[in-house]
């Protein structure tokens, strides 16, 4: 097991350097001189240009620049945003809770609906429920979520007026961001209606972001359940006269969950990609919207740092899932 963990960790290092290199290289490849972009329409004198160029280190050889960037990254220094002048690291962690809160709710939503849907479909294999649920799942899986978001806004915000269109909480409420998680902060503030407002703002983005994971989890649960239901021990349990609820719920589901948990872990990347679209549409102040805005503003240090942090996050989660899987299933380790 230790060998397995070590070998996985070793492959992490070159991948990390590569990811750093890519995020570093992209910014150098972007059209337009970043310093000229920074100056805006006013322009600047050649002296000022040279000064700024020296300040950001753009006048040194590219290898030196990369080495300095890499050592900076390892010390937690990702540079400062061109636009706000604040450290990229601070901005990331100020916005990250918003994305985490949304992703967490979306994940809960998709697990809470996806696993039961998959189990019901598997138990009723080939019957009406199975067909209906799996057709719905396929529609969800094929959904352009940016359109789905607009559709939900038309129905629930426009026609019914039940949910707000954008933001995390109504402007009526103001309280300090102690944790960055609106649900917790609004509850802690003790203001009447603040929590309800936060929940209302969360509902549509959660549904939109959770739709594709929901479909994936439902499909995966169904196929895993079908595989397990064909095993001998299920027949034994049935022969012993256990109720079908007990067989399906305890004997089968528990074993079917292993691949499902893997899928859930590996969908972090999907979730972050979805967050880009969801946050942009609902003006949700999280990492996804921050990245899109920065790309449009040509805020190079932010794009560079954000790319790196997001990639590292995906890598760490995938590595953890891999290791947990190795822990549960010894067969994997031998490879």
């Amino acid at each position: 097991m230790l060998n397995y963990v070590l070998s996985r960790l070793l492959t992490f290092i070159p991948t990390f350097i590569g990811v750093t290199l890519i995020s570093f290289g992209f910014i150098r490849a972007l059209p337009g001189d970043p310093i000229v972009v920074m100056a805006g329409e006013r322009g600047m004198t050649p002296e000022r240009y040279a000064e700024l160029s020296a300040q950001f280190g753009f006048d040194r050889p590219i290898f030196v620049q990369f080495w300095e960037y890499l050592t900076g990254v390892l010390q937690g220094d990702l540079g400062n945003s061109f636009v706000t002048k604040r450290p990229v690291w601070d901005e990331f962690f100020a916005l990250f809770p918003a994305t985490l809160e949304l992703s967490f709710c979306a994940m809960i939503f998709s697990i809470a609906l996806g696993i039961p849907a998959g189990v019901i479909a598997a138990v009723n294999r080939g019957k009406f429920f199975d067909r209906a649920l799996m057709s719905t799942a396929l529609v969800g899986y094929s959904m352009p979520i940016f359109w789905w978001a607009l559709l939900l806004i038309i129905i629930f915000s426009g026609n019914l007026g039940w949910t707000p269109v954008s933001g995390r909480i109504s402007l009526m409420y103001y309280f300090p961001n102690a944790t960055g998680f609106m649900l917790i902060d609004s509850l802690a503030s003790g203001q009447k209606g603040a929590f309800a407002s936060a929940v209302q703002h969360l509902i549509l983005p959660t549904i939109v972001l959770g739709t594709i994971p929901l479909a994936v989890i439902a499909r995966q649960t169904r196929s895993a359940m079908l595989e397990v239901l064909g095993e001998d021990y299920i027949r034994t349990a049935r022969a012993k006269g256990l109720t079908s609820g007990r067989i399906n719920g305890i004997h089968a589901l528990r074993n079917a969950l292993i691949p499902v948990v893997t899928v859930i872990g590996l969908s972090v990347g999907t979730l972050l990609a979805g967050a880009i679209l969801t946050e942009t549409i609902f003006s949700w102040p999280g990492i996804g919207k921050w990245m899109v805005d920065s790309i449009f503003r040509r805020d190079y240090p932010v794009v560079q740092g954000g790319l790196l942090l997001i990639a590292v996050m995906v890598m760490v989660v995938n590595l953890t899932v891999d290791m947990l899987y190795g822990l549960i299933n010894p067969k994997i380790r031998k490879r």
């Binding site: 352009p144 940016f146 359109w147 559709l151 790319l307």
Partner: protein, 301 residues
């Protein structure tokens, strides 16, 4: 008499052609057949769109802006699905728009699959260290969420449909590399490959003639799935303003243009998205059918 009998017996026992066998299994999946029909309609619209569309896709009928669909009050027979804020016919734009999505799918899958298969074959046959380098590079690409990487790539290359296609192809290609390499590694150990090698087959022959045809089944399924991913991602990029640029009637771009009218004119938002959904759904249905028909493990299960 005897001859006729044996001929009949031979016919019964003859293995049906590969295509026939495939069609036999594919046809069993009703959803897949429906998907195939929808896809056929989509392909016809993509090829002959401008001749089928009732109006020109970019003509602005200035007196008829934001007309609702024909069945709604105020709608006109002339514009069956209504008109957009600039007075362009929705139906015509949707029909002409099919070709952009189709084009994106075909180009992205061709580029990503051919590149990925080549790299995967090399990784499978090359010495260990080349293999590790290739796979680490693929790991690096896969570490970025695909849409984010495509978005940054398009920002580097400049927003256009071509650049969006290049970006999506780069992002999708590692899946083909992994898939090809995995099947090459398992096929390579089989006896028929050893015998071909003993018979003196060179690397090129081994790679392309001996091994590759036996690795194709999962790759074909992946091609169907990435066809739909490509359409979705291109539309998402268009929606974010980083894909096809207005006035191109690309479905994602149309949605982006219509965004500010969502609460006033439901049809300008609903139909382009519905077009994307139906197309992607049809391709995914076909993909499921392909998987059932091509994957021997799942057959008859």
């Amino acid at each position: 008499m005897d001859d006729a009998l044996s001929a009949e017996a031979a016919q019964v026992h003859a293995r049906p052609g590969r295509l026939r066998e495939f069609w036999f299994y594919f046809r069993e999946n009703r959803g897949a057949v429906i998907g195939l029909w929808i896809f056929a309609v989509f392909a016809i619209l993509a090829l002959f769109g401008p001749w089928i569309a009732p109006h020109d896709a970019t003509t602005q009928f200035r007196s008829d802006t934001l007309l609702p669909p024909a069945w709604q009050e105020g709608g006109s027979r002339k514009y069956v699905l209504g008109t957009d804020p600039l007075g362009r016919d929705m139906l015509s734009r949707l029909i002409v728009g099919a070709r952009f999505s189709f084009f994106v799918g075909v180009v992205v899958v061709t580029v990503a699959a051919s590149g990925g298969i080549m790299i995967g074959l090399i990784a499978g046959f090359a010495p260990r260290w080349v293999d590790s380098i290739i796979m680490r590079i693929m790991d690096i690409i896969l570490a970025f969420p695909s849409l984010l990487l495509a978005l940054v790539l398009v920002a580097v290359l400049g927003p256009s449909l071509t650049n969006a296609m290049i970006a999506i192809a780069i992002v999708l290609q590692p899946h083909y590399v992994r898939l090809t390499r995995a099947s090459v590694l398992s096929e390579k150990q089989k006896d028929y490959v050893t015998s071909a090698r003993v018979a003196g087959a060179g690397y090129f022959r081994l790679m392309f003639v001996t091994v590759l045809p036996n690795c194709l089944a999962p790759i074909i399924v992946q091609a169907a799935l990435s066809f739909s991913t490509a359409i979705l991602d291109a539309a998402a990029l268009g929606f974010l303003g980083m894909g096809a640029q207005p006035p191109t009637p690309e479905w994602g771009t149309m949605l982006a243009e219509a965004r500010e009218f969502i609460l006033r004119a439901w049809w300008v938002v609903t139909f382009p998205g519905l077009a994307i959904l139906i197309t992607v759904l049809a391709i995914n249905l076909m993909g499921d059918g392909l998987r059932d028909a091509l994957d021997p493990k799942l057959k008859r299960s």
